[in-house]
Symmetry: C2
Subunit: 272 residues, 2 copies
Amino acid sequence: MATHKGDGSAPAGTVGKALDVLDAVAAFGRPVKFAELLASSDHPKATLYRLVQTLVATGMLAYDPDRQVYGLGLRLVRLAHGAWAQASLAPLARPHLDRLSAQVGETVHLAQLDHGQVLYVDKRNARQPTAMFSDAGKVGPAYCTGVGKVMLAHLEAGALDDALGEQAFRRYTDTTHVSADTLRAELDDIRARGYGFDREEHEPGIRCVALPILTATGRLLGALSVTGPADRVSYDSLEGQVPLIRGVAQAIAADASDWGFPEPKAARVGTG
Amino acid sequence: MATHKGDGSAPAGTVGKALDVLDAVAAFGRPVKFAELLASSDHPKATLYRLVQTLVATGMLAYDPDRQVYGLGLRLVRLAHGAWAQASLAPLARPHLDRLSAQVGETVHLAQLDHGQVLYVDKRNARQPTAMFSDAGKVGPAYCTGVGKVMLAHLEAGALDDALGEQAFRRYTDTTHVSADTLRAELDDIRARGYGFDREEHEPGIRCVALPILTATGRLLGALSVTGPADRVSYDSLEGQVPLIRGVAQAIAADASDWGFPEPKAARVGTG
DNA sequence: CCTGCGAGTTCCATTATGTGAAACTTTGTT
DNA sequence: AACAAAGTTTCACATAATGGAACTCGCAGG
C-alpha cells in the first residue's frame, strides 16, 4: 500500500527519501521500532538510521527512548494546521458547510483531490457535533465515492488519465466500478449532468449525491456531498438536494476566487 | 519568520533546510511568491529555488502556476492525520474529554508540549459542537497558559531550562509573567500543588485551571484544562473541578501507558 | 521598437553531504 | 557466561547540494 510511488521512479534526492520514511511511519499507523521500518524499506541499515535521526532532530518524527519506537512528530500537526488553513478549502467553506448541514440534516463532506485520491478536508455529521480533525486528512478512493467521481469528471483529459492510472478498482460492493472503462462512461454522464451519485459503491447501504466545486473558469477546486443511509434516503430525495448543494458549491467557489485560492494541483503528477 | 531555533550550530542537513522552508511558508499563512520566500530566507536564490522545487515535487508544497504562488501541500494534511492519530493523545483521550466536557460544561483543552510551545491537540467548547481541526494544531505560549505552565512545571531540570530559553515573555495582560524568574517560582508552586491556574495571563477575562497528564512513573504526557470567562467562573469554582479533572487525567494516562504511548519529546532539542 | 529592470530559471565547477559495508556496542535471551 | 539480535558508529567514497553568474522572460519607460 504505502503510496503508489513505491520508489522506483522517485527522482527526489535526500529530502524525498526522508519524506518517504515519514510516509512509511504513517503507514504503520502506530509507533514503530527501527527494525520494522528497516524491513519495510529498501535502504541499508545505516542509511535508514541517519534518515530517521534527521527526522527526529527536525521534529517530524518523535522517538520514545523507553520503548524505542518512532512515531510521527507533533511538528507535523503544527505544519498541517497551516496546510489545512491555507491549502484547503475548509476554512473558507466552513460557514457554508454549516449552513448546508443545517438545511439537509444529513452528513456532509467537503473533499479535494490529491494525487488521484480523495482527501476529505471537512465534514459535518448528521446531527452530531462537528467533525473532528480525525476526519480532515482522511483519504478515500476516487473511483467509488461521490466526491471522487465528480472530481474526476471535471479533470482535464491528461490529468484524468493520470488519475485513473492510480485507481485500484477494488470491488467494495457489487456496484463498485472495477474498470476504468465503465467508470469513464459514468464520468461523461456526470460531467454532462453536473452531479453524481455514489450508489452504495463504497459501502453497502451508503448513498450520496455529490457536486463539484468549480471556479467561474471551470477550474476544479473540490467537491461537496450529502450522504445518507439507504433506508432513509432515496436517490430522488438526494437529487432534490442538488440545487441547494449547487448554490453552496457556487458560494464556496466565489469566496475562493475572491480570496485567490490556489489550484489544488490534483493529479498533476509525473511530468513535472 | 524563521523558527525559534536559529541555533546556527547544527541546523541539520538538506532535509532540515527543506523543512525550514515549509515552516517559512507556513509562517506566511497564505500562498507566497518565490520572491517573498527569498526575502525571508538567507539562502541564495538558486538554492532556495531547488529546495522549493523539491518540496513541490514531493507534494509538501503546492504550486499554483497561474498566480505563481506556493502554498502548503495537501500531503501534509494527509500525514498530519496520521500524526494526530498516533503521536498525539487526542484519539486516546477523546472519550475522556467528552465525559469531562459534559460534566464541567466549560471549554476543555487537551495540550502537549512541542519545542517549548503549547500545542493544542483537542478541544471541547462550552456547549457548542466539538472543536474543529483548526483547533488541533494550534500553538500557544507556554509561559502564560494554564496547560503550558503545568507542563513546564513537570519537565526535568534540563528540559525546563531549554524550554524557558524559548519563551518570549511577551506581556499579554498585566498578570502575564515577563521573566523566567517569577515563572520559575510559580512552577515550583504548581509542581507542589499538582495543578495551576491561568489568571487572565494570556487573555483578559479568561481564566483556567490546568493539570498535567503524567504516567505512573511521572513522565509528562500532556495537560488538560478547563477554561471559562472571569464573569462566570471564580478560581474557587475552578479549583473545585480539580479532583474531577485529575481523575480524567489519570484515566488518560492509564490508557496511554496501556497502549504504549510514545513520549512527546518536548524540549529535548539541541544536544542531539 | 528597443532598452532596462526585476523576477524567475538554468549552468556548472566546487565541495559539503549523504552513502553503506563493516565493525562495534548495547540489550536481552538461553 | 556466551550468544544473538537490535541498535549505533566509523570511514573511504560518490552522489547530490551549493551558489555565483549567466540566461530568459515579461513588462514599463524612453
